[in-house]
Amino acid sequence: MTKEYKTISKIAGPLIFVEKTEPVGYNELVNINLPDGTTKRGQVLDTSDDIVVVQVFEGTGGLNKECGVRFTGETIKLPVSKDMLGRILSGSGEPLDGGPRIVPEDRLEITGAAINPYARLPPKDFIQTGISTIDGMNTLVRGQKLPIFSGSGLPHNEIALQIARQARVRGSNEPFAVVFAAMGITNEEAQYFMRDFERTGALERAVVFLNLADDPAVERLITPRLALTAAEYLAYEHDMHVLVILTDITNYCEALRQMGAAREEVPGRRGYPGYMYTDLASLYERAGVVKGRKGSVTQFSILSMPGDDITHPIPDLSGYITEGQIVISRELHRKGIYPPVNVLPSLSRLMNSGIGATRTREDHKAVSDQCYAAYAEGKDLRGLVAIVGKDALSERDKKFLEFADMFEDRFVRQGIDENRDIETTLDIGWELLAELPEAQLTRIDNKYIQKYHPAHRAKAEQKE
C-alpha cells in the first residue's frame, strides 16, 4: 500500500502542490481522496525533492489542504480489450453506456511510444470514402493523418459521420473499426453523433470516447491519448484497420493553453504553449502502418479554425504535422453545396502513392491535376467577371468559367448518403472536362484522352 500524504501546500487552478514526499516519478498517476470520500485522479507534472506538482483531471473543485494524496507508482494506463467495440466511454475511460467495466486483456501506457521510422511502411493503400472531393482530388490512404479544417457553423460533423459510415478498403474484407473521440463537444452534438452511430449500425464497429464541454478541461488532454491507445491496440494486436476521428482539436488546444497558463509557463504565439507543436505531433504521429503488422491507424481529425483563419496557430501547426488537409469553405456552404469542400487549399500529401493503375485507375492523377488547374483558372475568372462583365471574356475563358460552376455543382455537390465509388467520381470528372476544348487538356496524356474522354470512349470501348 502506498503512503497517503496530507501535505498539500497550494492549490491553483487545476494544479495542486504537494510537499515532503518520498521520491515521486515524473508523469506518475495520482489518486486524491477528498474529505467526502470521493476520489479524483491526477498526474505529476513536475517533481523534485521539495515539491511535487500534480494536475488534477476532474478539476480541483472541492479540494482542500486536508485531502489525502496517494502516488500510485505507475504512469496512466488504459485497460484495453476487443470488447471495447460497441462501447461508449467517458473522456477518462469510464463506461457511460450503463454497461459493465471493461475487463482488460491488457493495460497499456497512454502516452504511446514513437514508431521507429525504420519500422514504418510508407502508406499506399487507397481508402474509399465515397466523397468525390476527397477520393478524386485529395485521396486518403491507410496510415495517413488527414484533418478537416473547418469553422464554426459548418457541416464538418456531417462529413465526419459520412466518412465514418462509408470508409472502406476496396476489394478486401479485412476488419475495419472506428475509434471516435470527442473533446469538449456539446451534449447536443454528442447526442447527434450517438444517434447517427446507432441509426446506421456503425456503433458495433466503433469505440466512442466522450469528453463533453462541461467536463473538466484537463481531462481533454488525456481523451485523445486514450482513443489512440485503444486504436493502436485494435490495429496492432487484433489486425484491424482503424480510423480514428478526433473532434475537436481546437478544444484540445484550448485545454493545453489553459494548463500552460495555470503552470505559469512562458506563452508562445497567441498564448499557446511553445511546446504545442511537439504535443500535437505526439497525437498525430500515432497514425501509421508498421512493417510486418496487419492493422493500421488512420486519423481523420476535425479542427475548427477560429475566425476561419488558416494561419491561426492551431491549424497552422497541425498543417505542418498532418499529411495534408481538407478545407471546408463557408462560401460553398452559403451556396448550399454539400459537402462544401474547397479543393484548392485542400491537399493530400500521400495521394500520389495511393492512386494509379493498380490502386484506383491509371488516369486518376491526370484527371485530378486537370480538374485542379481548370477549376483554379475558372475561379480566378470569376474575379475578372465581377469587374468587366462576362461578355468581355474570350470564348476559351467562358468555357473555364462554366467549368468552375459545373465542377461545384456536379463534382463537389453530393448527397449526404451518396456513396460514390472512385470510378464514378473519375467519370464525373471526365464529363466535366469534356466541356473544355480538347487542346486545353494539357495535363492529360493523350492515351488517357483516347481511352476515357467521353468523345472517344465509345470508340475505345468498341475496339476492345
Binding site: Y26, N116, G143
Partner: protein, 577 residues
C-alpha cells in the same frame, strides 16, 4: 572530482541534478535506466540537463553519472547508407533491440563494431603526420572511397602502420610518442571541425531542377533557404535536391519531420539510382531521422550531428550537400527547451540566442581547403516552415540575413499545381555573378544573357497581369499579348517540372539551355512575324508552340527538339508568305 550525483527535479525533458561536478555540454547518464542527457546550465552544485529520451516515471534521488565527454559523433567507415536518429543511434539497430516502437534506455553505437573494413595505407613508417592528414583508404561503398584522417588534434611520426582487414576500433597506426590511431574518431558535434582555409565558391551545384539551376543557382559551398507554408512542396523540393544534386555525399536531416514522409525517404532512397553511377543513391547518403514525436532534445541535436558528419566527408575532399528539413522545427526545439529553463524569451518566445545559433550553423557551410590540403565543400540547404506562411517571422528573417540564396515557395502556385512552386519574382540568388565564368565555359556564353532575358520577360508579365486583371487580356495590344504568351511558355514549359516523371525529374544543364533557348527564339520569331504583319491569332495557333510544351518529357530530347525546331522554321516561313 565527483562523477556521481543524483536527480533533484524533473520536468519533462529538463532534469536538474545535484552533487555532480560537470562542465557545460557534458553528456550524463540519468537515472537507473541511464537515459542520455546533456548539461546545458550550471548553478551552485546543481546542473540542468536536457534529456534525449522520455522521462516518464523517473524519480528524484535516482543516480546520475557524468561521462565527462561532450555530445560526440563517431566518424569512420560505415557512416554511408546509415539511418540515424538525432543522436547517431542507428534506427535499424534500435528496431532490433526494442521492436517497432522507440523505447528508452537503449544505447547503440553509431558505427558497427563488428564489420571489418579493408584498410590500404597511403603513408609509411617514419612519415610525419599532422592533424587532418590522410593515412589510408577504405572502399566504403562501390563508388565512395573513404579516406582515413588523422584526428585534427593529433600529430607525430609513424612508428608502425598496418594493412588489411580491421574493425573500426582496432589500432591501424601507432606514432612514435605511443599514440594509437584507429579508423574511427570521435568529434564533439557543437564544435566545427578545423580547416586550413575557407575559399570562395565558384562552381554551381547542379540540381537538375530548371528553376533552381536556371534562374536561382546555389554555389557548391553556398547556403540556401527554402521557406514556404505547409503544402507548398518544401519536402518534395528537398528530396529532389537530395536525389539529384551533383555532390558526392548527401546528408539528409529529417528534423521534426513526419514519420510517414521519413518512411518514404527510407524506402525510396535505396531504390533510386544515382544518375551518374547507376548505383543506389543510398550508397552516398547518410540519413538522420528524428520525427516530430521523438524526444525534443534529440531533435535539437540532430542538426549538429548532421553537419559534423558532413564536415568529416568535406575534410576528405568531397563535395557534400546537407539538407535540413526543417530548421523551423529545430528552432522550435530550442524554444521549447528554453522555455522549460524559464529563460527570458526573445521575439515570439524564441530564445534570444536564436540568431546566433542559426548563423553558427550556416557558417559551417562553405568551400574549404582541408587540413589534408584537399578541397571540399558543404552546401547547406535549409527548409524553413514559417507559421502561416508569413515570411516576417523570426526564423525566416534571421535565416535570410545569413543565406545567399532564397527559394520562396508559394502556396498559390502549389494550389494551381505549378510545381516546383517556387515564386520566380520573390526568389533570389546572390551567386549569379560569381558563377558567370563557369557558365560561359561549361554551358554557353549565351546562357547568362538568355537567363536575364527570361527573367525580364517574367517581370514584364507580372506588370501586364495587373492590367489584365482590370481589363482582360484581349484589350492589350498585340505585342503585349505575345509577351504574355511567351512568359506563359517559360512558366509552363520551362519552370514547371514534374518530380514524378521519369524523364522530367532530372534536367541536365545542356537540356535546360536548349529548352529555354528554343522558347526564347520562338518568342523572337513570333515578334518578328508580328512586326511583319502576321496575325496574332495565327501565331498562337502554331503547332510548334504546342510541341514545345511536351518536349521536356521526351526520352530522345535532342532528336525531338530538332524536329520541333524544323517545324518552327517552316511555320514561321509560311507565315511570312
Amino acid at each position: 572530482m565527483k562523477n556521481k550525483g543524483e536527480i533533484y527535479r524533473i520536468s519533462g525533458p529538463v532534469v536538474i541534478i545535484s552533487g555532480l561536478n560537470t562542465k557545460m555540454y557534458d553528456v550524463v547518464k540519468v537515472g537507473k535506466e541511464g537515459l542520455m542527457g546533456e548539461v546545458i546550465g550550471i548553478e551552485g552544485d546543481k546542473s540542468t540537463v536536457q534529456v534525449y529520451e522520455e522521462t516518464s516515471g523517473v524519480r528524484p534521488g535516482e543516480p546520475v553519472e557524468n561521462t565527462g565527454m561532450s555530445l560526440s559523433v563517431e566518424l569512420g567507415p560505415g557512416l554511408l547508407e546509415s539511418i540515424y536518429d538525432g543522436i547517431q543511434r542507428p534506427l535499424p539497430v534500435l528496431k532490433e533491440k526494442m521492436g517497432d516502437f522507440i523505447k528508452r534506455g537503449v544505447s547503440a553505437s553509431g558505427l558497427s563494431r563488428e564489420k571489418e573494413w579493408d584498410f590500404v595505407p597511403t603513408v609509411k613508417k617514419g612519415d610525419k603526420l599532422n592533424g587532418g592528414d590522410i593515412i589510408g583508404t577504405v572502399q566504403e561503398t562501390q563508388n565512395i572511397e573513404h579516406r582515413i584522417l588523422v584526428p585534427p588534434t593529433i600529430s607525430g611520426t609513424i612508428s608502425t602502420i598496418k594493412k588489411g582487414k580491421f574493425k573500426v576500433d582496432e589500432v591501424i597506426c601507432t606514432l612514435e610518442d605511443g599514440k594509437e590511431l584507429t579508423m574511427m574518431q570521435k568529434w564533439p558535434v557543437r564544435k566545427p571541425r578545423p580547416v586550413s582555409k575557407k575559399m570562395t565558391p565558384t562552381t554551381p551545384l547542379i540540381t537538375g531542377q530548371r528553376i533552381l539551376d536556371g534562374l536561382f543557382p546555389v554555389a557548391k559551398g553556398g547556403t540556401a533557404a527554402i521557406p514556404g507554408p505547409f503544402g507548398s512542396g518544401k519536402t518534395v523540393t528537398q528530396q529532389q535536391l537530395a536525389k539529384w544534386s551533383d555532390t558526392e555525399i548527401v546528408v539528409y536531416i529529417g528534423c521534426g519531420e513526419r514519420g510517414n514522409e521519413m518512411a518514404d525517404v527510407l524506402y525510396e532512397f535505396p531504390e533510386i539510382k544515382d544518375p551518374k553511377t547507376g548505383r543506389p543513391l543510398m550508397e552516398r547518403t547518410v540519413l538522420i531521422a528524428n520525427t516530430s514525436n521523438m524526444p525534443v532534445a534529440a531533435r535539437e541535436a540532430s542538426v549538429y550531428t548532421g553537419i559534423t558528419i558532413a564536415e568529416y566527408y568535406r575534410d576528405m575532399g568531397y563535395d557534400v550537400s546537407l539538407m535540413a528539413d526543417s530548421t523551423s522545427r529545430w528552432a522550435e526545439a530550442m524554444r521549447e527547451i528554453s522555455s522549460r529553463l524559464e529563460e527570458m524569451p526573445g521575439e515570439e518566445g524564441y530564445p534570444a540566442y536564436l540568431a546566433a545559433r542559426l548563423s553558427e550553423f550556416y557558417e559551417r557551410a562553405g568551400k574549404v581547403k582541408a587540413l589534408s590540403g584537399k578541397e571540399g565543400s558543404i552546401t547547406v540547404i535549409g527548409a524553413v516552415s514559417p507559421p502561416g506562411g508569413d515570411f516576417s517571422e523570426p526564423i525566416t528573417q534571421n535565416t535570410l540575413r545569413i543565406v545567399k540564396v532564397f527559394w520562396a515557395l508559394d502556396a498559390k502556385l502549389a494550389q494551381r499545381r505549378h510545381f516546383p512552386s517556387i515564386n520566380w519574382l520573390n526568389s533570389y540568388s546572390l551567386y549569379t555573378k560569381a558563377l558567370g565564368p563557369w557558365y560561359d565555359e561549361h554551358v554557353s556564353p549565351d546562357w547568362v544573357k538568355l537567363r536575364n532575358d527570361a527573367m525580364e520577360l517574367l517581370q514584364k508579365e507580372s506588370e501586364l497581369q495587373e492590367i489584365v486583371q482590370l481589363v482582360g487580356s484581349d484589350a492589350l495590344p498585340e505585342d503585349q499579348q505575345l509577351t504574355l504568351e511567351v512568359a506563359r511558355m517559360i512558366r509552363e514549359y520551362f519552370l514547371q517540372q514534374n518530380a514524378y516523371h521519369e524523364v522530367d525529374t532530372f534536367c541536365p544543364m545542356d537540356k535546360q539551355f536548349k529548352l529555354l533557348k528554343s522558347i526564347m527564339s520562338w518568342g523572337d520569331k513570333a515578334q518578328t512575324a508580328l512586326e511583319g504583319g502576321a496575325a496574332i491569332e495565327d501565331i498562337m495557333k502554331l503547332k510548334s508552340k504546342d510541341d514545345l510544351a511536351k518536349v521536356k518529357y521526351e526520352k530522345e530530347f535532342d532528336t525531338a527538339l530538332g524536329v520541333i525546331l524544323n517545324t518552327m522554321e517552316d511555320e514561321f516561313a509560311k507565315l511570312k508568305r
